[in-house]
Symmetry: C2
Amino acid sequence: MTASDASPPQPASRRIAQALRSAIERGELSAGDRLPSERALAEEYGAARNTAREAIRLLAEQGLVTAKHGRGVFVREPQRLFRFGSDRYSLRNRETGLTPFRLEASRQGKTARIDVLSIRRAVPPPGIAERLKVSADEESVVHRENHYFADDEPVQIVSTYLRWAEAQGTALTQPKTGPHGIYGRLEELGHTMTRVRDEISARMPTPEEARLLELPPGVPVLEVLHTSLDQDSEPFEVSRYVHRADLTGLLYELPVE
Amino acid sequence: MTASDASPPQPASRRIAQALRSAIERGELSAGDRLPSERALAEEYGAARNTAREAIRLLAEQGLVTAKHGRGVFVREPQRLFRFGSDRYSLRNRETGLTPFRLEASRQGKTARIDVLSIRRAVPPPGIAERLKVSADEESVVHRENHYFADDEPVQIVSTYLRWAEAQGTALTQPKTGPHGIYGRLEELGHTMTRVRDEISARMPTPEEARLLELPPGVPVLEVLHTSLDQDSEPFEVSRYVHRADLTGLLYELPVE
DNA sequence: TAGTGGTCTAGACCACTGG
DNA sequence: CAGTGGTCTAGACCACTAT
């Protein structure tokens, strides 16, 4: 009550947050460092513990720090990004036999794991039905759901939708899809990929996604709705990618016009 | 204390949040509706106000609801998205004289406004210098900063960087850049755009960005680092877009291989 | 066991909005 | 003005982590 009476229309929690933010930016606290405990901050700033806690919440919301129960609050380490984009579907990648995900993981010295969660005939969600040009009122698709891990850390969730009429009875309904993966099988069915359309958005995760991706608070997801078009400009495959935004960058390189 | 004693190791705040989330999903609360007040929720669930408040915070963090001071907490309205992407730089758009932003705004019946905040010779940030292939140790670029509004609501912040050596003394250092904008002037300087490279990421906003974009809590930003390449595959323009993720979708349509 | 964050209580005052 | 969210206090107990 004695020191800084003059100016601050700023709430105490914001002032504490700002002080910590400055300390991080000035390098007094660097990536991986532990912040003072909530109780210590409260005493230092003459505030209640809840107020110090609110300050830390503000930083966590921005993705600057992460709390570890029983251990402390730590400055978040910048993570090397997985990069995906225009070459995600390229033939070059398919010829190496390495999927873009495995390629990226090995580039980072990490072990890739891909879990096939389920392969089911299903009624497509409306957005999917529209893009794949199938009926949204019947079980018109095969839904393949995969989870991708790097060193056992979840990185992305992918749902792939294919026409049931085409996939029925083929390897497309099996966990092992054979050489060149699903695109190999789809090519045999007469679909040569000539164009792709990726629709990208970002949002906060649902609780379900936060759980599956083990997302710390303050980390959004990148959602990519991907459509593959064949030689007749007809869609033959639609996938929905949900990426951890703190581990993923997208790269699109394309000719103009 | 009488009803559901058996199971819940769930914290009360999460249980309240889950109840509200279900009500929203079941349509009992729809977009624009007001939630019960914090005090009412506290009483209804036999909890302290702070606990009800925590529940609302969980929903706000997910982007499901927004609090309005003095009015209440409301279920967030889904917003129509501004869509940008592979055609953002296309000649077709330049020929109409309408920028993609103005086009999108008019498509939505909104009034576009573009504020030129500053045009300055500057030392480029490291990431920019690297992509534009200029020195990061001197004032080697012109930095143009623009803010984009739709019906006076901020939608995106754009920083464009050009080589000072080229831009010096041209309309590129002026607010009005003339026919076809900066790309028109750059073409006169011998740079025909043949390829673009867009690097996309998502993250929570800095406090500065939250202020400028008037971002409600729980809304991330989409960041696009754009590089224009000319006929010699040399970069001649780099821009950094920061979009409100709840108002923006990106669309990339491109040929494979 | 001591120290950390996670949750919660029962108050209080302030700032903003609407009738 | 009454009602709302925004902030804050000073406690309390729990759950987790290290030593």
